[in-house]
């Protein structure tokens, strides 16, 4: 019995159960005023408690949709609609995901390049880092439409502008992590390379790059999650017609809370999957680099 309590699955189940209890409790409470109004207008004066709870949990446009509403909506829009349909969640997810991945890839490369510059050039260290930090203090919601407009003016539209908004957010953790990573070799390791009369390029590839890899993966996990946020946020103020952000936006226009929540859960699931993929690659790479398993 003790083993059951200590097991991982037990812990996960307890947390899950707690979330569901809070969720349903909140849903009943938040949806009660509307439900009372519905009864009043329909002149229903007698209802059982059971009937009332069931009704609050199955409203068409609830303040807070219940879990089963959200998940059945997700199921319907994921599996029961053709993938190329505008009502398919898979379709919208793919639109957002492609921008996320492109933005993440550009952001990672860009971030690594900036980190290389910062670690190898004193002037860049002093001049670039403040700008990198300042860039993150600008609300992405404010700058996103401008990026779209400016890029449109130079003839770029479609996937790339949205991806660049992802890039804008995701390059930052890469820069910070990789600067630390490239500086992580110990002094004697750097001295060792000097005694070999190694060129800066050799020192970079034989010492700095492998030393920085663990930092790269940590940064990438953060970066890929916020690249997804960037892609979604990039869809909000730009009037995108497809993507999870567009789904959120149209949901809020028409009071489709169930649709909003299912898009949110889809985004969360995507983020989890993306981070898992990065973790798997990390495991594979560090195993080849002799990490203790």
């Amino acid at each position: 019995m003790e083993r059951v309590f200590q097991s991982k699955i037990f812990a996960i189940l307890v947390v899950l159960l707690a979330i569901l209890v809070i969720w349903y409790g909140a849903a009943i409470k938040l949806n009660t005023p509307w439900q009372l109004g519905v009864y009043e207008r329909a002149e229903i004066t007698q209802w059982t408690k059971k009937q009332f709870i069931k009704d609050t949990l199955n409203q068409k446009r609830p303040v807070l949709p219940s879990a089963h509403q959200v998940f059945s909506e997700m199921y319907k829009t994921t599996f029961l609609k053709p993938i190329n349909s505008k009502r398919s969640l898979v379709y919208h997810s793919w639109i957002t995901l492609s921008a996320t991945l492109l933005g993440f890839a550009i952001g990672t490369c860009f971030g690594i390049l900036i980190a290389i510059g910062i670690t190898h050039n004193r002037a860049l260290d002093r001049s670039l880092m403040p700008w990198v930090i300042a860039s993150q203090t600008i609300p992405i919601l404010a700058i996103a439409p401008m990026i779209i407009v400016v890029l449109n003016a130079v003839g770029l539209s479609g996937l790339l502008p949205k991806a660049l908004i992802s890039t804008y957010l995701s390059f930052f953790p890469i820069v910070v992590g990789m600067v630390k990573g490239f500086r992580s070799p110990r002094n004697i390791q750097i001295d060792l390379m000097r005694t070999y009369y190694a060129s800066p390029l050799q020192t970079f590839f034989k010492l700095r790059w492998p030393s920085a890899l663990p930092y790269l993966f940590t940064s990438m996990k953060v970066a890929i999650a916020i690249a997804l946020v960037g892609a979604i946020v990039g869809e909000l103020p730009t009037g995108a017609v497809a993507g999870l952000g567009a789904r959120l936006l149209s949901g809020s226009y028409y009071g489709q809370t169930v649709q909003i929540w299912s898009a949110l859960f889809m985004a969360a699931a995507l983020a989890a999957i993306l981070i898992m993929i990065v973790s798997l690659v990390e495991k594979h790479v560090t195993k080849n680099m002799g990490a203790k398993s």
Partner: protein
Amino acid sequence: MSNKNTVISTKNMSLTFQTNDGPVHALEDINLEINEGEFVSFIGPSGCGKTTLLRAIADLEQPTKGEIKVNGLSPREARRTRAYGYVFQASALLPWRTVEQNVALPLEITGASKQEKKEHIERTIAMVDLKGFEKKFPWQLSGGMQQRVSIARALAFDAKILLMDEPFGALDEIVRDHLNQQLLQLWNKHKMTICFVTHSIPEAVYLSTKIVIMSPRPGKIAQIIDSPLPKNRPLDIRESKQFLDIAHRVREGLRASHSYDEEEA
């Protein structure tokens, strides 16, 4: 000076570090000649500049005054021609490389061929007695074995000079004895010139043909003792009268250079 057997020489060499608390005179007026085939130990209390001197020879620090010649070249030129191997206090192995990959690192940098690398790995790993551990990662080895790998790595360029900065300082005495013996064998067999920084009197006496006693603040050479011990030294030579006499002289030398002042105060 024109002795053709002189491998390392310094002339009026001084080295001052500029720090936030003002200049620190790490080395002052160092005059030293090391001949081919010598095993020279540098001993002294911490802060006497023995490591700095070794680093200056290796072109890892720049003297502020005077000059150093290694194989008749400037330290930088000597470094460029890969005239020496350097063994650090810690093994400084790259943790993502296996033993043989670590040993091959310097050869990758000089761009040696695959065949050369293979031969070299086999030979040096045999030299430090690590056969069978080629595919292990550093964390799978004991501290003594790790330091042996770093010695094998330092032998990579077949350099005749080996600079060692307290290589066995972090090891326990039994392992240290064993490695001292192996090092002597290596030195004997390959006719190398070794500069060895240590803070252990028995280690210095056991290994060296020449013991350089240094004194701190500023770092200076206090005394140079030539050891009359034979080249072939079994471990129990350390109980001999001759050995104890030299150890005594080294201790006296250290005392005369005020190395024990702090502890006595």
